[in-house]
Symmetry: C2
Subunit: 581 residues, 2 copies
Amino acid sequence: MTPQRWLDRFAAALAKGDIDAASKLFEPGGLWRDLVAFTWTLKTFEGRAEVKAMLAAVLSSVKPSNFAVHGQEWFTFETAVGRGIGHLRLRDGKAWTLLTTLQELKGFEEKAGRTREWGTEHGVLPERKSWLERKVEREKALLSGEQQPFVLIVGGGQGGIGLAARLKRLNVPALVVEKNARAGDSWRKRYKSLCLHDPVWYDHMPYLPFPDHWPVFSPKDRIGDWLEMYVKVMDLDYWTSTECIKAEFIGDEWHVSLSRNNQSLVVRPKHLVLATGMSGMPSMPQLPGAESFKGTLVHSSAHPGGEGWRGKRCVVLGSNNSAHDIAADLWEHGAEEVTMVQRSPTVVVRSEMLMELAWGKLYSQQALEAGISTEIADLTLAATPFRLLPEMQKPIYEEIRKRDAELYSGLERAGFRTHFGEDGSGLHSIYLRRGAGYYIDVGASQLIIDGRIRLKHGTIDRLSENSVVFSDGKELQADLVVCATGYGSMNGWAAKLISKEVADKVGKCWGLGSDTKYDPGPWVGELRNMWKPTQQPNLWFHGGNLMQSRHYSLYLALQLKARLEGIPTPVYYLDPVHHLE
Amino acid sequence: MTPQRWLDRFAAALAKGDIDAASKLFEPGGLWRDLVAFTWTLKTFEGRAEVKAMLAAVLSSVKPSNFAVHGQEWFTFETAVGRGIGHLRLRDGKAWTLLTTLQELKGFEEKAGRTREWGTEHGVLPERKSWLERKVEREKALLSGEQQPFVLIVGGGQGGIGLAARLKRLNVPALVVEKNARAGDSWRKRYKSLCLHDPVWYDHMPYLPFPDHWPVFSPKDRIGDWLEMYVKVMDLDYWTSTECIKAEFIGDEWHVSLSRNNQSLVVRPKHLVLATGMSGMPSMPQLPGAESFKGTLVHSSAHPGGEGWRGKRCVVLGSNNSAHDIAADLWEHGAEEVTMVQRSPTVVVRSEMLMELAWGKLYSQQALEAGISTEIADLTLAATPFRLLPEMQKPIYEEIRKRDAELYSGLERAGFRTHFGEDGSGLHSIYLRRGAGYYIDVGASQLIIDGRIRLKHGTIDRLSENSVVFSDGKELQADLVVCATGYGSMNGWAAKLISKEVADKVGKCWGLGSDTKYDPGPWVGELRNMWKPTQQPNLWFHGGNLMQSRHYSLYLALQLKARLEGIPTPVYYLDPVHHLE
C-alpha cells in the first residue's frame, strides 16, 4: 500500500466517522503521536484501542481533511482550525507510526515572505508613530499596568526567548522577565570553558539560524551574545534585572509580583510560562559540617570556573556533564589536586561519536546539504514515538562501544564506572528519562584515564574544617568542594513561585515514566508537563535543550495563540499526577 | 554556438596565448567587465582592442583555466591564484558581454559549513583561553599598539561593518572606528520617519540575511539595531566613540591619529579604507545673512525630525529624497507651513513601481522563490556593464510614466519639475552618475500635489532675521531652514583626514563619466575610485547603498587579503584623474 492510498482510506474513514475502520488501518500495536493537531496536547496513542478512544472523543470537532502526500513519508492535512504536517511509517500496509502536528492556525498564519509587514506606511499620516516610538509606548503601557501581557514568561534563556519570538510573530502579547542584567547572562556567568556540547546544526534558534561559519560548538559567551542580539532584533518585550517573586492564579488570571531593578510591580497575564530551565532548581546536598568548612562550598551552577584555584585541592561531587567540565577546567587551571566523586555509573559518549552516529543523519552539514532542513530534522525526530526510541538507539551505542573500546576500557581501568543506561539505549534516552546522568566527552575522560582527575566512589559523610570525609572513612583535603549534584524537577519552581499546593497538583516535570532510575513509572509516553496543558489551568512549562526549545515552542505558541483568539481548545487528555517531584 | 562551446574556444585561445583569437570571440563592440579576477581592479573593457590590450598584459600571470558552464549564462573558472564566477551573453555566436569575478583565493577560502571552526578545542589544554579571553586580549593588544590592524576602516556604518565581516572571515586583521557611541547610531540619529527606500530583499548584509518576517522597508531604528547586533555576533573589532583625526602615509604604512573616548592614540595599519558614506561630507551652502538668522539653520544630515515644529514655518532647500522625507515629516508633525525649494528637476518614482518593474526580477520574494538568491541577483546586476544600463532601463521608465501618468501630471500641475534623467534612463542611472537627484516616492509627492507641501523655485539669495529671501525677490517667513543640499565627493574625506594633496591626487569619487550634469566625462565605465586601487597607494574607498556595500565589499576584501598574504596583485589599470571633486 502506498502512503497516498493509506491516507486516502484513512481520510475516508475519518470523513465518514468510521472510527473502527480508521483504527484498523494501524497495526494492532501501532503508535500515533499527536502534537496539538487532534488533541490540543502532546500525546502518543499506543495501540488501536487508544486510537479509537481518542478519535471517538475528538473527531467531530477536529474535522481532519485534505490529506496530501509529500515525498515518501510526509503529508499535510487540515483540521477545522488549522493546518498540519504529518509523518507515516507503513509496515505491510498498516500504520506502524503516525505523527500529526499542528503547524499553523487558519486566519492567524505568521507573516513571512510575501505577507511580511510593510515596515513603513507609505502615504500621509499626521502624527505617525515610528517603530521606536511604538516600542517605547508599549514598554510604558506594560510598566504602568495600562496594558497587560497575555502571556508572562518567567526566565529569559534560550527557551523563554525562542517562545517569545514565536509569540511575537503570532501577535500574542508576551512579556519575558529575566533576573540577570543582560539577556544571555545565564550563559555568560557559567564556568569559562563551557561550550555547547551539541553541534551547531542542532542548536539554531527559530527563524534566525546561525550564519554558516558559526563554530560547531559555541563558546558560552558567543551564545550569550547571540541570545542578547536575538532579543533585540526579534523585537521582544523583555525585561532584564527582573525577578519573579510570587504568582497567584485568581479568577482567570495570574497576579505576578515582580521585582524590576529592585522596584516592585504586579502584572496580570492570563497565562504563565515557567521557562526557568528544564533542570529546575539546583539540588544542593545537606552536608553535615558544612558550616565549619573553611574552604569554598558551591553548587556547580554558581561555580565561575577554575581561575584562582591554581595549587589548590578541589573535590567535585558528581560525575555528570558539569562535573566533568568543571573538573577538567580546574585541572587546566593548575589545581594541585582534582578529585571527582562518582556516586553512580555515567553514560559517557564522545562528542565525535554522537555527531557521527547519533545526530549526523539529521543535524549536520551533510544532512543540510542533502536537503534536510532544521525543520525537517526536528519533525523527523518527533516522528519516532518515545516508546520506540530505546530500541532504535541501542545499535548506535553498540557501535559506539566497539569503536571507542579503548576509551571505555581505559575508564574502567581507572575505576570510572560507565554504562549506556539500564537498557543500553544510551544518552538520548537517559536525557529524556532524567535529564542527567551522562557526559558528552570532550576531553575530561582522558584526564580521568591518565589519573589527572582522581576518582573517589561513594558518598560524602561530612565536611571538616579542611577536608571531605567519606562514608568509608577516607578523608580528602579540600579547598574547594563543587556540588555538581544536579537540579530538581521544574515543578520546584512552581513551589517556589506559586505554592507547594500548585506544585503538587501539577506533579513532576520531565521524564517518560520508563520505570528506570529517577524515572519511575507508570509509562506516560511524553515528557511530563512539558509544553502542554497541566493540572493547573493557565500554567505551562517550557524548557529543554536548544533543539527542544526550538521545536516544541511552536506547539506551545500555537496553544497560547488559540486561547488568545478564542479558538476552542478542548484538551483530550490531562496526565494524572503520579509523582510530586 | 552554445556557451560551453564558446567557453571552450575562449579557454583554448587563452591557453595558447592566442590573444587575437580570444578577442575575436567578442563582438567588435563587445564588453568585458572584470571584477578583480584578471585585472586586480574593477574595469570594463569596451571593444576588441581594449580586450586585447588587457589580455596581452595580464594573461601570462593570470593563467585562466577550468572554464565550466553552469546553467544558461553562468560559468566558473580558475586563475593562478583564485576561483571565479562569470557570466556570458552571446549574440550570433559572439560575446556581447562577459563578466569575470574573483570569488575566492586558493588556499584562503572562507571557513563555512563543513570547514567551519570547531569552536572549542576538545582535549586537555592547560591554560586554555576562552573565546572571550582571546577577544579581550586582542582588544588590549590593539589598544596598546602591541598589535596593529592590517586594515583600518574609518566609518562603522553598513559599509564598514559589512567589509569588516568579510575581512574577519578571511582572517585579515581589521579595525573599524566609528565616531558614534553605538554601532547603528548613524541610522538612529536621523529624522524619525526615515525608513529604507529599498526593499528588504535588496538590503541584506553579507552572511546573515534578515529573517523572513523582516519588514519590506526597515525603519531606521531597526536597521540601527540590526547593525549593532551584527557587529557583535560577527565578532568584529569595532571601536565606538572613536574619531579619525588625521592620517598620513609614511613609508609603507598609515599613521592614523584617533580620538577614542576623547583619548588620543595612533594606529599604524598598512591599508586605510574610507567608509564614511558614499556621499562624502555634507554640502552646506554659504547663505548670506546666515549669522543674523534667528531661526534654526541646519543641514539635512543633522536634522533630527519634525518633532517640535508644530505651528512653525519651515523651508527645505532641495528636492531629493531627504528633502521629501523631511518636508513630509514636518507636515505630519503639524508644521504651519512647509515649503520645498526646488532648484532643478528631480527623478521621482513611486517605490511600488521600482519594486515591481525595476528590482522585482532580482530582488523580491518572487525572485527568491524562483531560486534567485541574493548572490545570484548581485552577480546578475553586475553582469550588465554600465555602458548598457541606460538603454536597458529606459523601457522601464517609459512603462512607469504610463502607469503613473496621474502622479506625474499632478506634480506638473503643482509646479514640481520631474524628469527621468537627461536621457530618460531613470533612477538607477542617476544614482550611479551622481548619487543624488531622485526621490523614491513613499507619499510626499501627494503632499506636493495637494499643496500641503508648498513649492518654490529658484535659489536663495540670503537669509534675514526671520525669513528666506530668494533671488527673485520673494520672501518666505521661516523658523527653520533645512538644507537638503546633499554631500560632496568622498575624496572630501581624504582632504579632511589626510591632505588636500592626496584628495586631489585621488580625484573625484563615484560617477561613471557619463557626461551628464554632475557627472562630467570622459567615460570611465566604472564608479570612480570605489572598491579598487586609487592613485594613492593603500587608500581605498568603500560605500554605496546596502546592495553595493554587500556585493562590492567582497572584491575589496579579496584585494586586501591578497596583499596581506603576499599574493602578487599587479593592477592592470589605474584611472587617470580628470576631476578633483
